[in-house]
């Protein structure tokens, strides 16, 4: 009897071992992989983390899918791969049963569009989600709508939506927002068309209007100098200076326009950063604050000076740098190659010596014309230039 009892007692134990334990083993294993992925993700090792999450996702059953897919989406988002992030946020939304979590992923998808600068699509997607009842998500929707309108330059609509995203009892914040948006017309200045018109009348005037005195003086002196040579020098110079006058005059117009646009973008960046809006969605504030930020990119040419080991090379390098800074900078975007002709010349002199390098650089100038085609050189669609290294 005792033996039978003992055997019957063994049954629950065996049941646990054979039926439940295997599931537990699998769960542990997926949990471990996800935990390892999380630790990699938290340390900023996004690519290995992605590999771990994808591995877990491959073996995951439906109870784990939401966790793995949403992690993959977040990793792609951190890698700034917004297209893939959107796909996985969609899947996360599909696997989630909770309406609020679905909405979180929906908004995250909108952030992906906004991060790509595609405010129009983001706005469209926001409009496609009308049935939001929760106060929290209505506020969030208004905030995102406001940012999208701000991105599209529709400041009145932006103000209306951003105002709605602030609680009505927070009067100080509302007043501050109103005060800030009362000055929104400044964001449309300097007007690039006015800058162009001014430069048409007087070369360099558009640049002064846009607030760039150095470029303005540069343009005035260069175009004025060419005009002087053309008018007062011997008659033959007139024909020779005419194409140069045309290039630098037209170049001045496009630069005046670009300076005005850059100035507006910087104003927009500062205006946006000063908006006190991100408390309501503090978890989003980290990436919402990054919108409209401009990356300053300046090439460092000092290495060419450091590499010039003889007086002649130094002289040539200095003259090319002078050309790049004060003459080429005022030109129309004429060089079709990458690296540009002046950089090519500097590198050629550096590598092949003064005489051969100079000839090579001049030959490059002869090849740099608008008839260059994709048959002859590799074309870089990003920089819209042909690749022709030394």
């Amino acid at each position: 009897m005792k033996k039978y009892c003992c055997n019957y007692l063994k049954f629950p134990f065996l049941l646990i071992c054979f039926v439940f334990f295997p599931n537990q083993t699998k769960s542990n294993s997926i949990d471990n992989i996800i935990a390892f992925g999380d630790s990699l993700f938290n340390n900023g090792n996004y690519i290995p983390a992605l590999h771990e999450y994808k591995r877990a996702n491959f073996f995951a059953d439906s109870s784990y899918k939401l966790g793995t897919v949403s992690r993959i989406a977040n990793t792609y988002f951190s890698l700034a791969d917004y297209k893939n992030a959107r796909i996985y946020y969609d899947s996360s939304s599909h696997y989630s049963g909770d309406e609020n979590i679905k909405l979180d992923y929906y908004f995250q998808k909108i952030v992906c569009y906004m991060s790509e600068g595609d405010y129009a699509t983001a706005l469209l997607r926001l409009e496609q989600k009308p049935n939001i009842t929760s106060e929290f998500y209505i506020t969030k929707k208004n905030l995102y709508n406001g940012i999208c309108y701000f991105g599209l330059g529709q400041y009145d609509s932006a103000y209306l939506h951003l105002k709605k995203s602030i609680p009505e009892n927070d009067t100080s914040k509302l007043i501050r927002l109103k005060e800030q948006f009362e000055e929104h017309k400044k964001l449309n200045r300097p007007n690039e068309n006015i800058a162009i018109m001014l430069s048409i009348v007087l070369p360099g005037a558009g640049q002064i209007y846009a607030g760039d005195v150095k470029n303005s003086l540069n343009s005035m002196l260069l175009v004025g100098g060419i005009l002087y040579v053309g008018v007062f020098a011997p008659s033959i110079s007139y024909y020779l200076t005419l194409p140069f006058f045309y290039r630098y005059y037209i170049g001045g117009l496009s630069h005046a326009k670009q300076i005005a646009i850059d100035k507006k973008l910087r104003k927009k960046q500062d205006f946006y950063l000063n908006l006190d809006l991100f408390d309501q969605a503090s978890s989003d504030s980290l990436y919402l604050k990054k919108f409209f930020s401009i990356s300053e990119h300046k090439t460092n040419y000092s290495k060419y000076l450091e590499e010039s080991n003889t007086e002649l090379k130094l002289l040539l390098t200095l003259s090319f740098l002078f050309y790049k800074e004060f003459i080429s900078s005022q030109d129309v975007n004429a060089c079709v190659f990458q690296p540009s002709c002046s950089i090519y010349m500097m590198e050629a002199v550096e590598k092949k010596g003064v005489f051969v390098g100079f000839l090579d650089g001049i030959d490059r100038l002869l090849r740099c014309h608008s008839l260059v085609s994709k048959k002859d050189y590799l074309y870089n669609s990003k920089t819209e230039s042909y690749y022709d290294p030394l």
Partner: protein
């Protein structure tokens, strides 16, 4: 006792029916192989290389996994890693690699343009079939654009070569390469010295030719006019220097243009042959 046995059998049956058995340790050999194969088949080669590394670690005698590992590295473009891993898997003698691995090694050497090493390997390896060894040797000669050598080699080994999978495609390239007309850089420079721009026309750069001709002609004309009007004035010297600089630069540039034309033809053939051999 009978009841206990029945219950025990039910338990075992349940356990067997449950697909998530003990084997569901996701990092074990079977699951790693399953996931690695999935990644390989879906062309995610970087991921499959990592997974096959795990498979090979768990089962050092799995030759098929080792081959897939090398292929994963090669397909993901990591040729250096593929070569190092191959040398690591067969540390004793790289020259006596088994057939499939030998083919991988040949492809790695072809991709790295290590033609001397390839020739030696094809000679000493015993496992590659003779037709394969001869075929890859023929392919390497075509990749090096040694057209005449390739033709002689082909005529000498035609019987064995015809058994090589991609012989017909390689023969086609060899024929084209042999009949293609290359440009003579010296002749091109000479033509540019006589009439600026004609050398570039000869190297098929007609747009450069027109631009060069117009620019040098204009600079020369202005120099001449300036000399005619003012003699050796500052203007004449400036315009003259510009004209001479561009004239000399054009001669130099035409020589370079002819060389680049020939290089482009060769590169095109090398690339085609490489593609055929690596996909074989």
């Amino acid at each position: 006792m009978t009841l206990f046995r029945i219950l025990l059998r039910i338990c075992i049956l349940l356990a067997l029916c449950n697909s998530n058995g003990f084997s569901q340790d996701l990092l074990n050999y079977a699951n790693s192989l399953k996931y690695a194969t999935f990644l390989f088949e879906t062309k995610q080669y970087q991921g499959s290389a990592i997974e096959f590394e795990r498979v090979v670690f768990l089962a050092p005698n799995d030759t098929s996994a080792k081959l897939q590992l090398i292929k994963s590295y090669r397909y993901s473009g990591n040729y250096t890693k593929a070569k190092n891993r191959l040398e690591n898997i067969f540390p004793e003698n790289i020259n006596s690699l088994p057939t499939d691995f030998a083919k991988e090694y040949v492809k790695i050497l072809l991709h790295d343009y290590q033609y001397d090493n390839l020739t030696y390997f094809l000679k000493v390896n015993q496992y590659l079939s003779f037709s394969d060894a001869i075929g890859y040797q023929y392919g390497s000669l075509i990749m090096q654009n040694k057209w005449h050598e390739a033709k002689i080699f082909k005529d000498k080994n035609i019987n064995k070569l015809s058994q090589f999978n991609v012989f017909a495609s390689l023969k086609e390239i060899e024929k084209k390469g042999l009949n293609d007309k290359y440009k003579n850089p010296l002749l091109a420079s000479g033509m540019s010295a006589l009439i600026p721009g004609t050398g570039k026309l000869y190297t098929n750069q007609w747009k450069d030719a027109i631009y060069t001709f117009l620019f040098i002609s204009a600079a020369s004309y202005i120099t001449y006019k300036s000399y005619e009007n003012n003699g050796f004035s500052n203007n004449t010297i400036i315009f003259g220097s510009i004209a001479v600089s561009f004239y000399l630069a054009n001669i130099y540039g035409t020589h370079k243009s002819a060389k680049r034309y020939n290089q482009r033809i060769n590169h095109n053939y090398t690339h085609k042959a490489e593609e055929i051999l690596l996909n074989n």
